[in-house]
Symmetry: C2
Subunit: 84 residues, 2 copies
């Protein structure tokens, strides 16, 4: 078994309103930054034991589907790296 | 001016408790996944005009310092990519 570090990036789908992102964008603009299209997503990082990277990725996809992301409103992408 | 897509990854410092990450970890474990060390961070993505990538990165650092991250409790890393 190898230790893998998993990062699950969850972002709202483009057609879903993001009030927190909008608020951050307005604040940045009032501070003089010409920022636009600001969106706020979340990243869940965790450690997992698996036989190989493919197994780790399959488990991470199950975790994302079953708990970490809401497929109706959110997109998600998974990164798997062996732990040093 | 070129359009740049900025991603500011904000994560809690390792010595700061993360109750939401702990809750996700417990839920994953109760579902049969042997996940550990789960932490939840956020990613702010936005679009910015700048003369070059160095200027875009400098602006993004200012935004992170002044608004997007709390340097006492959070680490942050910035990614700059030219927009297609």
């Amino acid at each position: 078994m190898t230790e893998y570090r998993i990062a699950v990036q969850v972002s709202l789908r483009p057609d879903i309103l993001d009030p927190a992102g909008r608020a951050a964008e307005k604040s940045l603009q009032s501070m003089g930054f010409a920022a636009r299209d600001a969106r706020i997503g979340k990243t869940i990082t965790l450690t997992l034991d698996a036989a190989d990277a493919a197994e780790a990725e399959a488990k991470a996809e199950q975790m994302a589907d079953q708990l970490l992301a809401n497929p109706v409103m959110e997109n998600c992408s998974i990164t798997v790296t062996p732990r040093m």
